[in-house]
């Protein structure tokens, strides 16, 4: 797909992206933020000038020449982790001595 025309960056698409990102922006904040992002994307369209036909994308800086075939994989054995209490201490609604924590009602709601 060819790169979009810079003017094709629509505010409605950006507002949809905000929704996809689970941000509940008020009307004025949405307009301001999406306007800024549109301006940034327009600036970034200069990348179109770089021809990339036949070029492979580069998603990670992992050195492909390094032998990572086996050394990185540890034996599939259970290892010690932090005690349960340490994790429960981080929860906002955990009760001392109990093995559960309270969360808002969510069952039945579609995401």
């Amino acid at each position: 797909m060819p790169m979009s025309d810079p003017h094709s960056v629509r505010i409605s698409d950006l507002r949809n992206a905000a929704q996809l990102a689970r941000l509940d922006l008020a009307e004025d904040e949405a307009l301001a933020l999406c306007g800024e992002v549109a301006r940034i994307l327009e600036h970034f369209t200069t990348l179109q000038a770089v021809p990339v036909t036949g070029v492979e994308p580069y998603y990670t800086a992992v050195d492909a020449s390094e032998d990572r075939s086996s050394a990185d994989v540890r034996p599939d054995e259970v290892q010690a982790s932090l005690p349960r209490a340490a994790w429960l201490d981080l929860a906002p609604n955990a009760r001392a001595g109990e093995e559960f924590l309270r969360v808002p009602k969510a069952i039945g709601d579609a995401l």
Partner: protein
């Protein structure tokens, strides 16, 4: 009690503690007193734990085995886990969160005797170039308190520049250690991507993030690298290659240094150009052969970087939903969806994240969304390949690259905070190196007179992947040639 501890670098301070010439307890007590006194001035820290630090100092004082950082106070950026300390990433989303474990790098430094004083201020989730996007107030530059210290490792840079600690940890994704190092008159080092474990680092852009140290001497950076580098079973992206043996150069005889013409031309003001040309002359005087090289994609690096980094950030920050991680909004019930999971998540993220984080999340989500991903994200990833090839071409002509770290010296607080693109431009010369995953040491270049004020500037030495030691050694030789290793630091005279 000896009161000159704050003038020493980490290496010297550790030697004096090891030999018994100086008391660890005295140093840490003085460090805590100075930090508490000056915290309101620079806002370098988000969390301090002097009680913990002093208890550890007493233990170290009695220790028989004395490590390479014995009794040296250090500061840690608030996106790294330090067991028991608040690591909030300078975000309301993680305010009050205390890490239940320590990052591998913190464990390794502590095993050598380092004493963590606290976690430092930063741009929220490491997204910023000035330190102003912290939810807990901007950090001020100890060289000129009306100016930004740079970002995103703003507090770590201010802590070292303010002589609150000799050594601090930051993270460098697109320049977040090198740029504040340059603006605060420090040495900063971004290692080869994967050289140092990131276990315990809150992820921003995983293909770019590196843990990186800041110090007032290059030898401290190398010491920190030696201690922190090496494989880590808890980080599958951490390299298994061994850090090469130290290289010893008294000068640069036999080395070829490339000067990228596009980096030189990016300098926007006369004094910065003069300062950088002094670095070039110093390299020549030290015996290096200089060649001009070309990296034309430099002009696209900021766009390429921000597209890739924001896509990764949108994904990495999806976990902060108020249920699995982060603060949970309580006041979402008035929207007619009481107890709706989706509404709870959206309200928590909207209230928890600051404006720059939201901006980058929306940008990254858009660039990766159906119908736009090929045009934006995939295209940028291909440009990244070409950026790497440009560096590969350069290595056929030279052993290392020498260029300015930033296009201009420290900006005034508020000068660019309302213009995201103007802030992103601060990263013009650090992002190309990040995209290619290369090591780079930012050294102290001569001071520049800017708006009637003497401000620090920086130059970076970039080497091939894996040649971390070489970049540091060249930086050390250049600082010695320039005389900037003894740069006068006004903050050292600020008494606690």
């Amino acid at each position: 009690m000896r009161t000159d501890w704050h003038r020493l670098d980490a290496t010297q301070l550790a030697h004096e503690h090891q030999s018994g010439a100086r008391s660890v307890v005295d140093t840490i007590a003085a460090c805590c007193a100075r930090t508490q006194r000056l915290q309101p001035r620079w806002n370098a820290y988000l969390a301090l734990d002097c009680e913990r630090a002093l208890a550890r100092a007493h233990t170290l004082e009695r220790a028989v085995t004395r490590g390479r950082l014995h009794g040296v106070p250090i500061a840690v950026k608030a996106n790294l886990a330090v067991k028991g300390l608040e690591s909030s990433c300078a975000s309301r989303m993680l305010a009050g969160w205390r890490a239940p474990y320590s990052a591998t790098v913190v464990e390794r430094l502590e095993a050598e005797g380092a004493v963590v004083i606290g976690t430092t201020n930063m741009d929220e989730y490491a997204m910023g170039s000035s330190g102003e996007s912290s939810a807990f107030g901007a950090t001020r530059n100890p060289w000129d308190e009306t100016r930004a210290p740079g970002g995103s490792s703003s507090g770590s840079a201010a802590a070292v520049a303010g002589h609150l600690v000799p050594l601090a940890l930051g993270s460098d994704t697109g320049g977040s250690v090198r740029q504040p190092a340059a603006w605060c008159g420090l040495a900063g080092f971004k290692p080869t991507w994967g050289r140092i474990s990131r276990y315990g680092l809150v992820a921003y852009a995983s293909s770019l993030d590196c843990v990186a140290p800041l110090a007032r001497s290059v030898r401290d950076l190398e010491l920190a690298l030696e201690i922190m580098a090496g494989p880590d079973a808890r980080d599958a992206t951490c390299s298994h290659s061994v850090l090469p043996a130290p290289v010893h150069y008294k000068d640069l005889e036999g080395l070829v240094l490339g000067i990228p013409q596009e980096w030189r031309e990016a300098l926007t003001d006369g004094p910065s150009r003069v300062a950088f040309e002094a670095c070039v002359q110093a390299a020549r005087a030290a015996g290096a052969r200089l060649v001009e090289v070309s990296l034309p994609l430099t002009r696209h690096a900021v766009s390429c970087y921000y597209l890739l980094a924001t896509v990764e950030a949108a994904s990495n920050l999806a976990r902060f939903d108020g249920l699995r991680y982060g603060m949970r909004a309580d006041d979402y019930s008035g929207r007619g969806h009481n107890s709706s999971l989706a509404v709870s998540i959206a309200a928590s993220r909207t209230q928890g994240f600051g404006s720059e984080v939201k901006r980058r999340i929306v940008l990254g989500t858009y660039a990766l969304s159906a119908g736009h991903a090929d045009a934006w994200h995939a295209h940028a990833a291909k440009v990244r390949t070409l950026v790497c090839r440009e560096f590969d071409d350069a290595w056929r002509q030279c052993d290392a690259l020498l260029g300015p770290t930033t296009p201009f010296p420290a900006i005034r607080l508020g000068e660019r905070s309302h213009d995201p693109l103007a802030l992103y431009a601060c990263d013009a010369l650090t992002t190309p190196v990040s995209l290619a995953g290369l090591p780079a040491a930012s050294l102290r270049a001569p001071l520049v007179l800017h708006d009637g004020v003497q401000l620090p500037s920086g130059a970076q030495v970039v080497t091939q992947r894996g040649a971390d030691r070489l970049s540091l050694r060249i930086a050390e030789v250049l600082e010695a040639q320039l005389g900037t290793q003894a740069l006068p630091s006004p903050a050292a005279e600020v008494e606690a």
